[in-house]
Structure formats: structure tokens, C-alpha cells
Amino acid sequence: MSLEKERIMIEVTSDWYLTLSAILFSIGFLGMMIRKNALIMFMCIELMLNAVNLTFITASNHLGLVDGQIAVFFVLVVAAAEVVVGLAIIVSIFKKQESASVDMLSSSKG
């Protein structure tokens, strides 16, 4: 009885994964706020996307539906597309001002 109770105590439920996903997302967002390097901000975006992916997979497992995993593929494709374009932009910015800091890019100031 006591052994089984212990087993129940440490059973990994979907909540755990979701909490992990929330923490990962928060870290990614914190990075977006504090880092100035455009490249690293990009990595933070990747972190957040992966947090979302984890949520999708967890939900898929939790609900017993395959659709969550399909959604992950779409997110993957969007992330890849975004990386390709984003990195090209970063390279061209860098060539122009010899720095990847986003704070220099304030030409859209009102």
C-alpha cells in the first residue's frame, strides 16, 4: 500500500510538462527583454516556440489525439522560415552598421 502510494506521488502527469513549458517560455521572454544582440533575441524566440511545441505534444498525449503533433510540424516549418529570413536580415543589418544590437535600429521612432 505504502509503496503504491509513493508511486502515485511521483507519477509524472501532464501538469508537470505544462509547468516546464511555462518556465521555458518565461525564460525565453525574459531573454527577449534583457538581451540587445539580435541573434540572441532570435534564440530566445526559438526557446519560446519550443515551449509552445512542448505544450502541443503534451496536449496530444493528454487527449490521445494526433493533431497536436501535426501542429508541431507546422510550427517547425514556420520557425525554419523565420530563421532563414531573420538571419538574412541580421546579416544585412550587420554589414550596414557593424553591430547586431537592436537598439541602434530606431529609425521607426515616432
Binding site: 521572454f29 527583454m33 535600429l105 521607426s108 515616432g110
Partner: protein, 629 residues
Amino acid sequence: MEILILGVLLIPFLTSLLLKVAGKYMNELLTNFVTLNASLLSVAVSFFLFGYIFLDKFKPLNFELFEWFPEPQIVFEFYLDGLSGVMMVLISTLSLVIQLFSTSYMSNDEKYTKYFEYFNFFVFSMLLLVLSGNFLVMFFGWELVGLSSYLLISFWSEKKSASKAGNKAFILNRIGDFGFLIGLMMILNYFETFNFLSIFENTLKTRPENLDLMILFLLLGAFGKSAQFPLFSWLPDAMEGPTPASALIHAATMVTAGVFMLVRISPILQFSEIGSITIISLGLLTALISAFAAINQDDIKKVLAYSTISQLGFMFIAIGAGAYVAAIFHLVTHAFFKALLFLGAGAVIHEMHHEQNIYKMGGLRKKMPVTAAMMGIGTLAISGIPPLAGFWSKDEILASVFSRGGIYYGFWALSLLAALMTAFYMGRHWLLIFVKEPSNELDSVNEAPKNMTRPLILLGLFSIFIGFINTPFFHGLEKVLHETLYNVEVTHLPKGITLAVLAFLSIGAGFTGLALAYLIYIFDIFSYFKIKIPFLKQFKKLSKDVLYLNKIGNLIFVKGLKSLSRKVAVSVDGMTIDGFINGVAKSFLKSSRQISFSQTGLVRSYVVYFGLFMLVLIFVFLLSPGVLS
């Protein structure tokens, strides 16, 4: 046989189309060849068709081209009975004669071919109008004659007055057409068809409650097209167009479209007491006003224009009195002698090198004997001197009005006065042009060319003899129109001695008018007896300015509306609407300038704001009822 109706319509239409397409490559000779042959063919087909229905005792022909709408059923159809037959023959004959005249009058004009293109287009439109089998097709023709009239009035559009006159005619006609259109809508609403025959049969059984209103709206259309009071002022201005075109359109055919339409709808019209009274009173008013106005005009064509309006007034009097045959009879005779007078005036203008003031003419009798003689015939005809055409028709109108009795005695007396005035101003017109001592040298004036005098002679013969188609002794036209007016109560002439007395009185009026004109303008009776008429100058001015009706209309409708619209433009549009819109735009501009500081352009601060507000949203979501148990 019915298909020939389409042929009659298509000949002038195709001619016009050909002149439009190939006009650039055609010289005057080729144009003449095309247009005159086409007209000749048209006349032949018209006479053939008329002969056919004549032999068939004027049993109507119906030709359905195609079905237009299924429900309510509207068919594009044509209808040929005695009435449209008479009009068809009249139009095609006159158009041939007048085109013959035009070849000489218009020669050496830059837009020679264009003139004939418009002319044929007008003939097509007018034939479409008279041959229509229902109201909608009639409306088509109605609008197309308006358009071609506009084109011909402003034919010399480089002259500002001509284009202005065209606009005026178009706009005043629009007022009438607006009424006509509303009338048509009411007809469709009640009868659910446009076909003449089914409408007429329906009216015999049940009469619409708003019949009077329907008739009054249709009347507005007729008044606009036929230049009756108060929509008459466009016709004198329309004289800016080429004179032969004026002869056909603004004297002989188009302006009689209103008369034609009223006779066509006479099976409905006879049931509307108010309609008839309106027609006769406004017709009489028009006849008197325009006869008065014609007395003191200087322009050779304007006299004839006012005379046309006055004669159209006579036709309206006849319709109002229920004498539909007399109206059509006068329409026919008037078409011939007025076309004659206009063409004669055209010949004079042509020879006088476009001088139109009759006081600068005079003595042309010796220079242009044929023209003078023919115009003399026209003058006698319009004055109602027997046995010329005008006498028979005008006398029939006057006698018919008299035979209605009651209030119509008054109408008869006033009509007789108008007839007297007609004789007077026409006498003045002819005498001033041809008889009076010339005020200046007229050496360069010669007799008009043969192409002009021949049509004049032809029309002169018509003016003499056309009256015999419907005398008190031979009711020819009545038989022609018998089928058309089958269920219509037509006012008949009085019999015996009354008719003789009435005829004598109207002849007397004609002679009196002519004699007065001679005494005043040639014999100069006033200075001979040293009589001073008080207010003569004011009287003359009043006549010349048409009782100031034009000026009053101008003051009310043009100046009044102009100042009103200017006020509206400044206050409503400028201050309220523009102010509101500009104010909105300015406030947005101002507020956006004040908010723009928040756009730092720094990506990271945007990220922070984004996150902050997302968290706030999460809070709101959590605190909203039902989320947390």
C-alpha cells in the same frame, strides 16, 4: 405585310447609320444621292402601307418584334392604324420635300453630311414614335426625337446661342418627359401592361381611380414636347437651328407629337373631365399669349415660331373640346402650310445672306416672285381664307368648340380672337417682308435656286388642296380615323345654318386680321389720320418680351435657385459638412502627433510593453467570473 412597318423604320435609320460611318468619305453629291433615294423609297413604302390599310378599311396592323419582359408582358411592338398611317405618310413626304430643299440650303456647309445624318435619325425617331404599339416604344421614340431635336438645334454649336438654345430645349423637354414617365409608371401600375389596345379595352370596363392624375402627368409630357404654356419658351429659341430642320421638327412634325399622343390616348382621355378642361384652357391661353407675342417680333423665324405655338394651341383646344379628328386635321394642314412658310423664310434668309430682321427686308416681292407667291399662299392658308387648307381645319375646330355649348361659347369667342390675331401677325409678316418699301439697298438679292423653289411650289399646292380631305361635305379623315377612335365620343360639327354662320364669322376674322395688318403697316393709318395711340410703345415692348414671361421665369427659377443653391453651398456644405470632415481629420492629426512619442522605435521596449499587457490580460482573464472555480 407587317414586316414593311419595320422597313419604314429601318430605311431612315440605316441611312443615318451609313452617313455616320461613311460620312467622312462622302461629298455633297454622294450624300444627296443616298439620302434622297432613301427618302424616296421611304415615301413609296409609306404610301404602299397606307394604301394597304386603306383597302382593308383601316383595320389595324400589329407587328411584334420581340418579347422584352415576360412579366408583366412587354413586347417591342409596332401598330399601324389610320392615325399612325396619316402621321407616317405626312412625316415621310415632308421629310423628302424638306431634304430636297436642304440640299440647296445647306450646300457648302462644313457639316453637310452630318446634317443629313441627324435629319434621317430624326425621321427614324419620329416614325418610331408614331408607329409604336405600346407606351414604352412610344417613350423610346419620344426621347429619341428629343435627342435629335437637340442635335439639330445646336447644329451650329460653335455659335454660343445655338448650343444654349439646344440646352434650353433639352431641359424644358426633360420637365415634360419627367411627367410623361410618371404617367407611364402609373399606367403600368394600374393596367400591368403598356399595350395600347389592352389598356383602352380595360378602361371601358373599369376606370382607375387616379385617372385624372394619370392624364395630367401625361399632359405634362405633351405640353413639354408640343411647347404649350408654361413649357413653351424653348421653341422660339430653337430657331437657332438650320431653317429646314426647324421646318420639319419645330413646325411640322416633332412638336405635334404631343397632339398625336393625346389623340392616341383619347379612349382614356375622354373619361377625364379635368384633363379636358386643362387641355382646352391651357391651349387657349397658349394660343392667345403666343399670338400676342408674334405680333411684334423682329426675327423672321421667331414670328413663325410663335405662330407655331399658337397653332399648336388650336390643336390642343380641339382635343380639349373632344374634336380629335379636327385636331389631327389641323395637324396635317398646319404641317404643310407651316413647312411652306418656314421653307419660304429659309429661302429669304438664304438670299438675304443670313439677315433675319424683317424690318431690314421689304419689297422682296419683285426680287423673289415665286417665294413671295408661295409664302402668300401659306399666309392665306394660316389665316383661314377659303378654300385654302387652314380654313377647313381651323373652322372645324372653332365650330366643334361652339357646338359643345355652355362654357365653350366663351372658349369659342377667345379662339376666334386668337384666329384674328393669327391673320393679323401673319399679314404683318408677309407684308413687311415682301410689300413694304425697302429701307436699304437689296441689289444682291435674287430668286432662290430651283431646288428651293420647287419644294415651295409643291408645298404651296398641298397647302391649297390638302384641306379637301375633310370638309363638311366630305368626311375623309374621319373615315381614316374611324377605327382609331372606335370607342371614343367625338364632338361633331353643328349642322346647317349654324355651321354657315360660324364659317362666315371665322372667314370674317381672317379677312379682318389681314386688312388690319395692311392698314397699319402699309397704309400707315395711324400717321395718316394723326391718331396717337396711348401706351403703344409699352404695348409693343410687352408683345416683344412675351408678357415678360421669360424674364419672370428666369427670375424665379434661374436666379432664385442660383442664389439659394449658393447659400446652401456656403452654409450647409461649406460650414457644416466640410467643417465636420476637416475637424475630424484635424483632430486625428493633432492627437496622433501627441501620441507619437510612445513610438520609441526601440524593439526591446516594445517587447516589454507586449509582455506587460499580456500579463494584464491574463489577470483579467483569471478574475473574470467562472474561470477559477
